[in-house]
């Protein structure tokens, strides 16, 4: 496989201005499919969640799923779109084994939702408005497995196997208007946009929103133009970019590739590109020219959808608090600074902190544990913090033990490791590992006497009122007790011993 030339991202940005566009497909989590009563379930045995409608048998009649329409309207409303008073379905004709009908039932001229926008907050708090062109309803296609070639790729395959379980699963395709002015933040914006869409559909409860299962899939359009030129360059469309990180990488890579093509004086070819996560590059897919002729026509088996204003308002009234508004509310409730809160959001632990607070921890304790302990461990394990397996109740219990003076902070992190290693509850681990703060004053006093004797000059400083010097003595005591002393109690005892007011 040939490798395309690329410019460095910095050089590409110096010379060119990127224009982006996204098509995000969202699989709805209805119980049944868009046009058939077969179940919409992921991961079942192949070709068992199908009936005659999904297999496109002759003479069958599709019937629209009411909940899928309602979910689509909710998505439109959450994207600040207008909802069509009346809209229709259309047949999009193409030949490919992922559909047994040789057409996909979709919408063409009159999408159910149009003319919306989404305000995207970037990592540093900058707000970037992305205009939504339309959100239309359609059905998902079957799943192809390419056999005989290398690594399941379509290139070099001998044949393909088709599972139609996914065929007919309700989809909403969200299409942006061209996004201009992102400049060097284009890759970051791409990731943030897809993350925002995913967050919205998850928050609405209309999709499981798991990118790893293909519930949310992104096609990323990228074109470049010289700075100052209004006319868009020729775009490529990178398909199946199926993680948030991949969206960012794919946009960055395509910008670098386009820049090299243009720099060499060549035209960019308008085509589909396939994203490869392993090499973090794209390769050419089928050229667009022929596929553009989908010969859409109105679906004769389905009658128009009329969304009365009453119905739309009823649905609007059921919408949950939008994620952006929720973030504002939570930050105010928790009293975090802008920087603290942004770090929490970027680390992906906002929901976890909310749950931990709900379980009884204070906002500062929840933040201390998630940001101070768990995020780092998750990074080392290369998983999302929420997937590490820390329960809110565990944090509450650990914190209570620290506050009660049973264990100190250092021991608490050790106990957390034990919990993650599956050794049991915090209480069980404290018991098993013999972790308990020495709170009997006797051994502490001995250690304090020894530490004071070892550092008489420090003792003098403390007597003279230089209380910050006490750390050296506390440190000596902690060392002598192998970290099992309660530092607060040690401090009290030292001060009492030296007759100094704390």
């Amino acid at each position: 496989m040939s490798t395309d030339a690329t410019l460095s991202f910095e050089e590409a940005m110096e010379k060119y201005d990127p224009v982006l566009g996204f098509e995000v497909h969202v699989e709805l989590n209805t119980r049944t499919k868009m046009f058939s009563s077969a179940p919409n379930v992921f991961g079942d045995e192949p070709n068992t969640n199908v009936n005659e409608v999904d297999l496109g048998m002759p003479g069958v009649l599709p019937v629209v799923n009411r909940v899928a329409i309602e979910s689509s309207i909710k998505i439109g409303l959450a994207l600040n779109c207008k909802i069509a008073e009346s809209c229709t379905f259309a047949r999009k004709q193409y030949f490919y084994p992922d559909t047994p009908k040789n057409f996909q039932t979709s919408q063409y001229e009159d999408p159910i939702a149009y003319d919306g926008y989404l305000d995207i907050e970037l990592a540093d708090g900058t707000i970037f408005r992305v205009e939504i062109e339309r959100a239309h309803m359609e059905e998902d296609a079957g799943k192809l497995t390419h056999m005989g070639g290398a690594a399941g790729r379509i290139q070099g395959a001998d044949f393909s196997l088709v599972d139609y379980n996914r065929s007919g699963v309700p989809l909403v395709e969200i299409v942006t208007k061209p996004i201009e002015g992102a400049g060097s933040r284009a890759p970051e914006l791409a990731k943030a946009y897809v993350a925002a869409v995913r967050e919205i559909v998850k928050n609405l409860g209309v999709s499981d929103a798991k990118m790893e299962r293909g519930n949310v899939r992104c096609d990323a359009n990228v074109s470049l133009r010289p700075h100052g030129r209004e006319r868009f360059g020729i775009r490529s469309e990178t398909k199946n970019v199926n993680s948030l990180r991949a969206v960012e990488h794919a946009v960055r890579y395509e910008i670098q590739r386009h820049a090299a093509v243009l720099d060499a004086g060549n035209p960019v070819i308008q085509e589909t590109r396939h994203w490869h996560e392993d090499t973090r590059t794209t390769t050419s897919g089928r050229p667009k020219s022929d596929a553009d002729d989908y010969r859409y026509f109105p679906e004769p088996d389905l009658v128009p959808i009329v969304a009365s204003r009453e119905w739309v308002e009823e649905l609007r009234a059921t919408l949950p608090e939008p994620p952006a508004a929720r973030r504002k509310r939570l930050q105010a409730d928790w009293g975090y600074s802008d920087l603290e809160f942004r770090d929490v959001v970027n680390a992906g632990v906002m929901d976890e902190i909310e749950e931990t607070i709900a379980a009884g921890a204070s906002a500062s304790v929840a933040r201390k544990w998630w940001m101070g302990e768990i995020v780092g461990r998750a990074k080392n394990a290369d998983v999302d913090p929420g997937q590490l397996g820390v329960q809110p109740a565990t944090i509450v219990e650990l914190n209570r033990m620290v506050e009660d003076g049973k264990i100190n902070n250092k021991m608490a992190t050790e106990v957390l490791d034990g919990v993650l290693a599956g050794e049991g509850t915090p209480a069980e681990i404290v018991e098993k590992r013999g972790l308990a703060v020495v709170s009997d004053d006797g051994p502490l006093l001995e250690a304090i006497d020894a530490a004071l004797a070892a550092q008489p000059d420090v003792a003098d400083k403390i007597r003279a009122g230089k209380l910050q010097a006490i750390g050296a003595i506390v440190g000596g005591v902690m060392k002598a007790t192998r970290g099992q002393a309660d530092a607060g109690r040690v401090k009290e005892l030292i001060l009492a011993k030296l007759g100094v007011e704390g």
């Binding site: 045995e45 297999l55 128009p304």
Partner: protein, 98 residues
């Protein structure tokens, strides 16, 4: 005469995966032109007072409740398939890489 020529028919045949001989293309170009002309007369009959319609029956919002109904077994689903493997439909290589 409608604007449908032999090239249009050849293009459509290719999109629809229909193999057509040169003779058939010639004949269909003529026949399709007549059909398109005939259909065009409908728009002459419909005046400005007749709105465009996507459907002949004045129905809207024919919905199904979101309740699971019947499914096929994999065996039933594959019973009409020319070829299958591992409970899935088996289709020839998709990319023409010859």
């Amino acid at each position: 005469m409608a604007a449908i020529n032999r090239d249009d028919v050849a293009h459509l045949a290719r999109l629809a995966h229909i193999e057509m001989s040169a003779e058939e293309l010639d004949r269909m170009a003529g026949e399709l032109a007549v059909i398109v002309d005939s259909v065009k007369s409908v728009s002459e009959a419909a005046g400005d007072d007749v709105p465009a319609t996507s459907h002949p029956i004045p129905l809207t919002n024919v919905f199904r409740e979101d309740v699971v109904g019947h499914t096929f077994t994999a065996e039933q689903a594959l019973s009409g398939a020319p070829d299958s493997d591992e409970n899935r439909f088996k289709v020839p290589a998709i990319l023409d890489e010859a």
